[in-house]
Amino acid sequence: MAITAHVPSPPRAAWLVVEGLWTWYRRNWRSSVVSSVLQPVLYLVALGFGFGSQVRAGAATEGLPYVQYLAPALLVASATQTAAFESTYPVLSAFKWQRTYLGVTATPITSGQLVAGQLTWIVLRLGFSAVAFLLVAALLGALTGPGVLLSLVFALLTAMAFAAPVVAYAATIDSEGQQFNVVFRFIVMPMTMFAGTFFPVEQLPAWVRPLVWLTPLWHGTELSRAAAFGSMELLPTLGHLAYLVALLGVGAHLARRTFLRRLAV
């Protein structure tokens, strides 16, 4: 039993940050369940079953009923949406309104460990929601098989590839967060609409497609569907993974820098 204060090892330090965030979540999870679990389930029901009943299974849906075509992509899209939310206001608040980050870095925890803990927390947080979504989707018969477990991994990777740079950006903001609306309206929303979640990107005009290829969501959606439908091919898989991992790496690195710049003044 540790009764004298000491410097926790770096992984332990990051984990303690997760523990702190969990303490908050335990008390406040109810409010976030609606947006992070219920919302994708509603999409699945309304678009997958409702609208999907009017869509004939064919080449565009990889020969599957629309709801089964949609489910693995919706998994990625909703994880990414939740990630966007979790990496904006909560981060700004911890710098500016609650100032809790300033409290943490007055202890032996460093700002780098704080970033690691915050990102780890976001993954776990997305993980809960994504698993809940998959359970509901399975009960509704929207899943094609155990391949979605791999889709889940890809969904989390995609969401974090998006979250990490957004966390880095959120650490630079000193306003009331109006800029986040721009992120939601001009990045998250169009990405969700057009990056292949609801219909294949081949339906888009050729000039739009390169923009879609830049989004992590498109790469994640490709991976997720391939995993769920058992149609993975080596080279495209490696390509998508490389892009997402690179984005996550760059984002995490930038977040370390922006946190340090904000906290060590």
Binding site: M1, A2, I3, T4, A5, H6, V7, P8, R12, A13, L16, E19, G20, T23, W24, R27, N28, Q98, R99, T100, L102, G103, V104, T105, A106, T107, P108, I109, T110, L263, A264, V265
Partner: protein
Amino acid sequence: MHARDLAKRFGDFEAVKGIDLDVRPGEAFGFLGPNGAGKSSTMRMVACVSPRTGGELTVLGMDPLAQGPRIRARLGVVPQQDNLDSELTVRENLHVYGRYFGLSRAHVRAKAVELLEFAQLSDRADDQVEPLSGGMKRRLTIARSLINEPELLLLDEPTTGLDPQARHLLWDRLFRLKQQGVTLIVTTHYMDEAEQLCDRLVVMDAGRIVAEGSPAELIAQYSTREVLELRFAPGTQDVAAVADLASRVEELPDRLLLYTADGEAALAAAHARGITPLSSLVRRSTLEDVFLRLTGRTLVD
């Protein structure tokens, strides 16, 4: 703690302009200074959260730039602005914070009970922090700073916002910590606080140390034994009329302060000249007078 030519620069602005300090283990050391003097900037460098931009600094025998986490593990910090998690309960704030020091859950839980008692917050332990009064939040921040049983406690304006009773309680607790051998570094705008708590203090102004010593030494060096305060109706005070009655005269908006060894004699002399203040008061010099002399400002502004 030991500092030589310690400096802090924010862009083009130099908040701390090369100060020398030595605080010995077990000592209670104070910073006095007007707003913007650089007290908090200095405290944050000592707390190893703000990197210095010049000079040398050693805290608990280590360099903050190289060994920040190891030093912070042994420090207690009460920042000027509270940074509690207002969405957690009082008790959870202590639990979460204690864990960051690598302490076990069981230990933190037991320690929290003790600290809640200390801060007189036991009956609010399971309430959210958000609706607590400012003074209660301050007491919680102070309790939190003790969770790791620090060897060096840094308190940046600890009692600002506390009611008189809570202030006296806190002084008593700090005094006890000092007796247990904890080193205290305090910034304050209250001279009674500085006189009560500090063995030694410095007066800072515009990033520099302008005086250093024990409260008694500072008073002896920078002020006279007594002060005569003459209060006048607005617009009727005349410094020239009393200038020669004291070794120094300070003019405040509503009164004149005459620094002299014998206040009663100066008052008699003023009366003899036909000067008729609204009221008069003879008192001993305090740190407030030292402060006024050194910075040209009153402490609480």
